[in-house]
Symmetry: C2
Subunit: 503 residues, 2 copies
């Protein structure tokens, strides 16, 4: 269905029975072995060819994505998300070529050498909210899995199968034209939940990357865990933002703008949307909430990704309201197609502490919740009730007026988030080697890994392999004495270097 | 019970009810927060003080360990295992002090910075076979968890509670004398299985390290997985050794000696014991097996770690024999106390392929299985049936006669093992930064982590934490522009350096 119009789109996509899924896994197993014979340069060439092909077909791809997701072509799909996608693919190519991601470690005295190497066929389940940059067949997980040397089995998100088809066509053509194994990229439109669970638990599967709802993700996690296969999840997150009083006094209006912009951006459908904001009771906090409410009313309500997202969002609002949250703004106007009014909710700290779980319900969409804490003691109690999140943020006075309180809240937020921000909203996840798009459970399944940031994201799809007394000419190039590229960073006898071992 | 004499030892150790376990977890949670206020130097001082104290009390500790485990004081406990233990603690101290383990990554252009930091209270379950070097309160997991900044809740192995008590006393005294939080080290003698599962799933627990039986380990894994808490397992492994024909022709006698020594060392009770050896049918293989059988008969049978180990070993032999393995050697002589005769079994490749699971049953003790493959095709079939292992090894002709076959078996073994060896038996796990004491499931629970090797083993007990736009004076020292030690390796804008950021 086109979420922007409610019209059922003409394309039909098949549901794969288990036999087809198993065939895909077997083929991926063969491709995995074949990939061992390809060079880092081959893999880089594939990724770069794919990026170029996406750009060459950008009109068709972004038109299809707009139709399927109702996300605007401009400024979003064409000038932000597509360039992000091709940039990720090219960064992944550069990482594959440089090889430093594999972290070669050489102990010359004992002739023991180790590095990270491809883990095996990777299943990627992409989310509904980024049809290009997190698409299972072109997004961050895909790029990381391939750069680490793995074939990918991509499970298309059912909300944008046509976009995924176009991207998969280009991936296949890029694979063909760069001489990659035939089954390096495979796509499945849809399977039963049972078959999805069997897939991630298959003994030929190396690992799985999943971005999406908590419920579906945890079902896959159970299956993968039971078979001992790594699964990396990016689940729900409400990304708490704590706004300290000094910051509001100093630059309240500015923060209102940042907040309203961030919470309504993309109709609120970002993993790092600031769903929960906490401030301290007082005059400046009251002004902030009133102004934010006006901002919510003034902004046009956007179109959601589909009827499922709309239904979930209405349910979540119901849960929040039943737990004591009250609506701040008044506008009831909605956007085209699947839409709910921009909704700002507020709740007292006291109420929050009565039902902290319900009030952390993720409202995926154009909804914000502001908790007003009575005092700093209650503020800390609230923060201690928070679940693990992708991000946490603190706004504070620029000249130190909030510093004492910052010192108290920082350790709590730090332990509950993968990325801690100061004075900046969490939306916008930079592709930086220092990025962590991850965090403590239940934001993800393991706090040691990031889904965004190259080369860090490649680790998820690699196994540590040690070579003990292995004859020199049998070692992977990365572990031989000579540096294979002249610029691969390796740890030799405790020091990082681009030089040679034993030279 | 003393396994060497069968005498029930006088000491009695309590079983902890859940209330006590929960109290320990709460206290560890407080200690975790307090540890944030300690410096890297403080942690290093604790580890070094503890190492010194173990050495100061070595007579008493090794006497107790000998009594509880029947492992000989000399050469094993006193001159090998105790020095390994204190060396690990000192290497961990050095890693804590240098801080490179935390892998600071600085992106100056975007002011995003990340590093690995302590994950939270770590539960350690130690195995029965290394009362000092893998002890839950002094071994590799303990050292890694503490060096990464975490408090430890140590679950004593029930086969050597007295040794654990002595080590815990010294750990506590070291903590006291170096001003560590009181609950940084806590010990539990024994709990019910249910309470063990509740412990690893507790929301205040950061992670768990477990070394021991597959059955108990997988029960803990289920509990930890369900609550989203990392657990690192080191489970069973039979460490396949492939001996190619050229190697046997060239140096058969030498390899017999290495094999017999390795498989019977420590009465075969090592994680990396070469339990399964595979050779190709032929004259040299027949000689090898005969000579190994003689070696098994000539060597005195050792004492096992306890009656449970003896019973499991007898059961495993029964399983192997019922699946078609035949005894090669004849001696029925046993050692003192808990003991079974040295047992060498052989089985044809054909038989192996009929019951590959049963014939991979781990026989933890002084038992070896040799599979004789008909030809290289059958050899590869056998290897393809192997489960994940900690190690895999290939012996081959030194001048290249086996190279073609090596090329064929290496990819199979590589994908099924954490550490690949050439021409060397797998026993002896060096504490090297390039070591991987890990491997694919079911040898461990995740192929990306090692239990031995510093600093690599610390990663298991750390979370990735990113700082985005955080004010400079609020950053951890490791992420500020200046290098905190002058020798901490950091990745700044893509290059590893001990220099400063931003010139």
């Amino acid at each position: 269905m086109a979420p922007g119009t409610g019209v059922v789109l003409a394309e039909r996509y098949p549901v794969s029975p288990w036999e087809e899924v198993e065939e895909a896994v077997s083929a991926a197993g063969v491709a995995f072995t074949e990939l061992r014979g390809r060079t880092a340069e081959d893999i880089a060439a594939f990724l770069e060819s794919f990026a170029q092909r996406i750009e060459d077909r950008r009109e068709e791809i972004t038109a299809m994505a707009e139709r399927e997701t109702a996300l605007p072509r401009e400024p979003r799909l064409n000038s932000i998300e597509l360039p992000r996608t091709t940039s990720q693919l090219r960064q992944a190519a550069a990482a594959a070529r440089e090889r430093s991601w594999s972290m070669p470690v050489i102990d010359t005295a004992n002739n023991v050498r180790s590095m990270y190497r491809a883990i095996g066929p990777v299943c990627v389940f992409g989310p509904n909210n980024f049809p290009l940059a997190f698409n299972s067949v072109s997004g961050g997980d895909f790029a990381a899995a391939v750069a680490a040397g793995n074939p990918v089995i991509a499970k298309a998100n059912t909300s944008h199968p046509g976009t995924t088809r176009l991207l998969a066509e280009e991936a296949l053509e890029a694979a063909r034209s760069t001489g990659m194994p035939k089954a390096m990229v495979q796509m499945i439109y849809r399977t039963s939940h049972e078959d999805g669970a069997r897939l991630v638990a298959h003994h030929l599967v190396g690992a799985t990357g999943y971005t999406g709802s908590r419920r579906a993700g945890l079902a896959l996690k159970r299956a993968a865990d039971a078979s001992g296969r790594p699964i990396y999840l990016e689940l729900s997150s409400i990304n708490p933002v704590v706004i300290l009083p000094g910051a509001l006094e100093e630059r309240g209006e500015e923060i209102v703008k940042e907040y309203v912009g961030s919470v309504l951006m993309g109709t609120g459908q970002f993993c790092t949307n600031p769903g929960l904001t906490i401030s301290l009771s007082g005059e400046s906090s009251r002004h902030f909430i009133e102004a934010a409410g006006r901002g919510f009313d003034e902004a046009a309500a956007g179109t959601l990704l589909g009827p499922g997202v709309e239904a979930s969002l209405r349910t979540a609002i119901g849960t929040l309201v039943s737990a004591g949250a009250e609506r701040v703004n008044t506008s009831g106007s909605v956007g085209a197609g699947c839409s709910v009014p921009n909704t700002l909710l507020r709740v007292s700290g006291e109420r929050f502490l009565i039902a902290p779980e319900m009030l952390q319900e993720e409202a995926f969409g154009n909804v914000g919740v502001i908790v007003v804490a009575e005092d700093s003691v209650q503020l800390k109690k609230i923060l201690n009730e928070l679940e693990g999140n992708l991000t946490a943020c603190v706004y504070s006075h620029s000249a130190g007026k909030d510093d004492a309180l910052y010192e108290e809240v920082e350790p709590i937020l730090r332990s509950k988030s993968g990325r801690l921000l100061n004075d900046r909203m969490p939306t916008g996840v930079l592709v930086s080697p220092a990025m962590n798009h991850g965090g403590p459970y239940p934001a993800t399944g393991h706090p040691g890994f990031t889904a965004v940031g190259i080369p860090a994201s490649l680790f998820r799809f690699a196994a540590l392999q040690s070579y003990d007394n292995v004859r020199h000419d049998r070692l992977p190039a990365e572990l031989r004495d000579a540096n294979p590229t002249g610029r691969t960073w390796r740890s030799i006898d405790g020091a990082w270097t681009v030089g040679s071992a034993g030279g």
